[in-house]
């Protein structure tokens, strides 16, 4: 378990402090200090900023309390998780939501919830500390806030300092070198590119409107282990007053966990993976809407998945002809783009520096398992040029 999640709660730390305090003469002063430090006097509530200027320090939002690294959620800040998340270079991610008192989101079967103005979504990215394999210590790199401001959603990247005591707003953050050895003994050494504030929009924008991506009903519909025990997230949000009109969890759509074979069929898990790793751009109105590829799990047209579809020149990889060739992962541009780390070829275009081996394996298996239908991708036999069909005269 990572350090950020293991840090003792303020209450527990206070209890230990109190035990160590013996001298009666100091008791009053110490008690006062402890009351303040330990939250008996409650920490200041979350301070939302709904318009510019946004604060330079993450701590000014009061989303988190306690000692560094400060990821103990403040009151009314709820952690959440997704069935199938976006891959981000194997970073650990810690997600939290806060809504202004008296407000709540409205449930939707499809798409993200209708969140009230003032909502703050916080996602922190952490990597293992180098030189401590097995200790599960992590270093926080960045905390991205997605804030439903008065003028719409806005993305704010906060970058953690070396001492992990504070994160500072940096709209165009520098790349960060990441080096560590994972529990399997694999060495990781790469440059982590933190998306800048405009790049936030590249993924989050649809028809010029910025929207969250992750917190959709189907992706939130899962259990989470809260401080007060496990519960379904939709039910928990509803009980807490953060969500209205949500159906019972077993009645609500649920996207498969991409990496849990018990959670769904190969097809369901692959579609879930594409839904949350690609479809934010690859849907009508998205940044890659112009390509005609729609990778949402709700899309049903195989053609828009790229089956036997030629890419335009920006989408070509090597000598491959089609985005997706059933039964032939090695011929499918979709897989080639996931496997590449060259800027011109790779997908997603931003937010990934290393190959997601497990994700690639999933999509490879999925394409492999599709029934081979070479006729589907056969070249057009109409208007034959004399001779072989390869003898088309060209454009």
């Amino acid at each position: 378990m990572p350090r950020v999640a293991r840090a003792p709660s303020p209450a527990r730390r206070c209890h230990r402090s109190l035990q160590r305090t013996g001298k009666a003469a100091l008791a009053l002063l110490v008690l006062l200090a402890i009351l303040t430090a330990c939250g008996r006097l409650p920490p200041p509530p979350v301070h939302p900023f709904l318009q510019e200027p946004f604060p330079e320090k993450l701590s000014d939002w009061h989303l988190f309390v306690g000692q560094s690294p400060r990821l103990q959620p403040n009151q009314r800040v709820i952690p959440y998780d997704l069935n199938t998340p976006l891959f981000s270079d194997y970073a650990s991610k810690y997600r939290f939501v806060w809504m202004p008192p008296g407000t709540s989101a409205s449930y939707r079967d499809d798409g993200v919830f209708d969140f009230p103005v003032g909502t703050v979504l916080a996602k922190s990215f952490a990597f293992p500390v180098d030189g401590n394999p097995g200790k599960n210590e992590e270093r926080l790199i960045e905390t991205r806030l997605l804030v439903h401001s008065k003028t719409g959603w806005i993305g704010l990247p906060y970058i953690w300092n070396e001492s992990q005591t504070e994160a500072h707003l940096d709209l165009a953050p520098d790349p960060v070198p990441i080096r560590y050895t994972d529990s399997a003994g694999t060495r990781h050494d790469f440059t982590y590119f933190i998306p800048n504030a405009n790049e936030c929009k590249q993924c989050h924008e649809n028809n010029h409107a910025v929207l969250p991506i992750g917190p959709k009903g189907r992706n939130l519909n899962k259990n989470f282990v809260y401080a007060d025990g496990p519960a379904n997230q939709l039910a928990y949000w509803t009980k807490f007053g953060y969500l209205q009109r949500a159906p019972a969890a077993d009645q609500a759509p649920k996207v498969a966990a991409w990496n849990d074979p018990d959670a769904g069929t190969l097809d369901a898990r692959a579609r879930a993976y594409l839904d949350n790793n690609c479809a934010h751009c690859h849907q009508p109105g998205g940044t890659a809407g112009y390509t005609g590829i729609d990778l949402r799990v709700t899309d049903t047209g195989l053609r828009t998945f790229g089956v036997c579809k030629s890419p335009n020149s920006s989408g070509r990889v090597g000598t491959l002809s089609y985005d997706l060739v059933p039964g032939h992962p090695e011929q499918s541009i979709l897989l080639a783009r996931m496997t590449s780390i060259r800027p011109k070829e790779m997908m997603p275009q931003i937010g990934r520096s290393v190959v997601h081996e497990e994700g690639v394996a999933l999509i490879r298996d999925w394409i492999q398992a599709m029934p081979v239908d070479d006729a589907a991708c056969a070249r057009n036999p109409s208007h034959p040029v004399p001779g072989a069909r390869s003898r088309k005269p060209g454009l």
Binding site: N198, H208, Y290, S313, G318, V385, S390, K392, L395
Partner: protein, 421 residues
């Protein structure tokens, strides 16, 4: 003025100069990139972002999302944004904002496309150069100047070199003027793809593999590109060997030495162009299914080419060295008796039109007053059985297409708004 006054002024000037991007001592590469990206992020409508003179190296795609912003350099040979060895992102500058203006700078050696503008209403690209400096190379990015799904676009006085697809690409857009540009050493000089109401005039397309293409392709969200005028352009010596990567994408199958081509579109008028010395053929009017073998699964797509009006062009000097790289071109040469003409037409007519309109030219392809070009109708619809040189059958006229009106070009201030005839 006394000495202290002078030095005070000097300090003040230096300080003020350092507040902006300009003026200071030359910024380091990382510093320049970060500061410029911050400026783009913080830009407000009406802002002009001035780029200083110099060559600056950038590692990542620059992006702009704020409306009504101008990015202005000191000249396309003086302010150079070099993306050589780009580490992240496919484009050089990626713009998703309305009323965008780019002026007087260059983008060089991007990993993918150069200047990408998406889904914008109101675009001006003026005196911008986008280039891959190593010259034609398969590994160059595909598109140099690349507006897609835009409305009201003006691209003028700009230069594109080295793109492995098109120097100037207008895709899925409406109301576009491309004028006075120079496109050279790209695979394709200009491409108008799935776009409508486009005027392409006073441009140069030289030393590409192909000059100016006007066409539709299936499987793109916007279908039905039409109403394109191509006039007063110089399209010559587009004989650089096609260096597009081999894939089924249409561009690989563009024959080296193609002047202008028109495919799977209707309502195209091309006039007063000088089209010469393109070594395969100067003018290529063709049905999608004749040219390419990719399957058509898009039921919205219409592969036919009709209502084409080519007139008053100067056309000469094709067929010097047809692109025998493509077996299909060799086959066409056989159809043509060993050579290819200045104007190559496949003769395919939409059966629906052919059924309704009898006569020699139901597709309304009019080729008139173009000097004395050689001509071949391939008769592709009938298995190339009866190729004909009957140019006279296509000596007709169509009503001129209306000039494209965009807010950036004020009517009357420019003779370009004059009609076709």
């Amino acid at each position: 003025m006394n000495r202290s006054g002078v030095s005070f002024l000097a300090v003040l000037t230096l300080t003020l100069g350092c507040l902006g991007l300009t003026g200071c001592t030359r910024p380091t590469a990382a510093n320049f990139e970060k500061r410029l990206q911050e400026q783009l992020i913080n830009a407000k409508p009406g802002d002009v972002i001035e780029l200083p003179e110099g060559k600056f190296h950038l590692d990542r795609t620059l992006s702009l999302t704020a409306d009504k912003v101008t990015i202005r350099g000191k000249g396309m040979d003086k302010t150079i944004l070099s993306f050589a060895g780009q580490k992240e992102g496919a484009s050089g500058l990626l713009v998703k904002a309305n009323d965008f203006t780019a002026e007087d700078f260059a983008i060089e050696d991007t990993a993918g496309d150069g200047l990408t503008v998406q889904a914008a209403d109101g675009v001006i690209v003026r005196r911008v150069r986008v280039e891959w400096t190593r010259g034609p190379n398969t590994a160059n990015g595909p598109y140099a100047i690349y507006p897609t799904q835009c409305k009201n676009v003006l691209v003028e006085d700009s230069i594109a070199r080295g793109a492995s697809d098109a120097g100037f690409y207008i895709g899925q857009s409406d109301n576009v003027v491309l004028r006075r540009n120079r496109s050279e050493y790209n695979v394709d000089g200009y491409e108008v793809e799935n776009a409508e109401h486009v005027d392409v005039y006073d441009n140069i397309a030289a030393h590409n593999s192909g000059g100016i293409g006007v066409f539709n392709l299936p499987d793109l969200p916007k279908q039905g590109g039409q109403h394109v005028r191509v006039f007063r352009n110089q399209v010559y010596e587009n004989n650089t060997p096609n260096f597009a990567p081999k894939s089924l994408g249409p561009i690989y199958y563009l024959p080296t030495g193609t002047g202008v081509y028109i495919m799977a579109i209707h309502d195209v008028e091309e006039f007063q162009n000088r089209i010469h010395d393109n070594n395969t053929t100067n003018v290529y009017v063709i049905d999608y299914s004749t040219a390419l073998s990719a399957p058509i699964k898009d039921t919205r797509f219409r592969p036919f080419t009709d209502h084409i009006y080519l007139h008053d062009n100067e056309i000469s000097g094709g067929d010097k060295s047809p692109d025998v790289r493509l077996d299909g071109v060799k086959a066409l040469m056989q159809v043509g008796g060993g050579s290819l003409p200045d104007i190559l037409y496949d003769g395919v007519v939409d059966p629906k039109i052919a059924a309704g309109k009898k006569g020699q030219n139901p597709g309304q392809v009019c080729l008139s007053n173009n000097g004395a070009p050689t001509f071949l109708n391939l008769d592709a619809a009938n298995g190339f059985k009866h190729p004909r040189n009957d140019l006279k059958a296509y000596d007709c006229s169509l009503p001129p297409l209306e000039a494209v009106k965009i807010p950036q070009v004020v009517e009357g201030s420019d003779k370009a708004t004059a009609g076709g005839q």
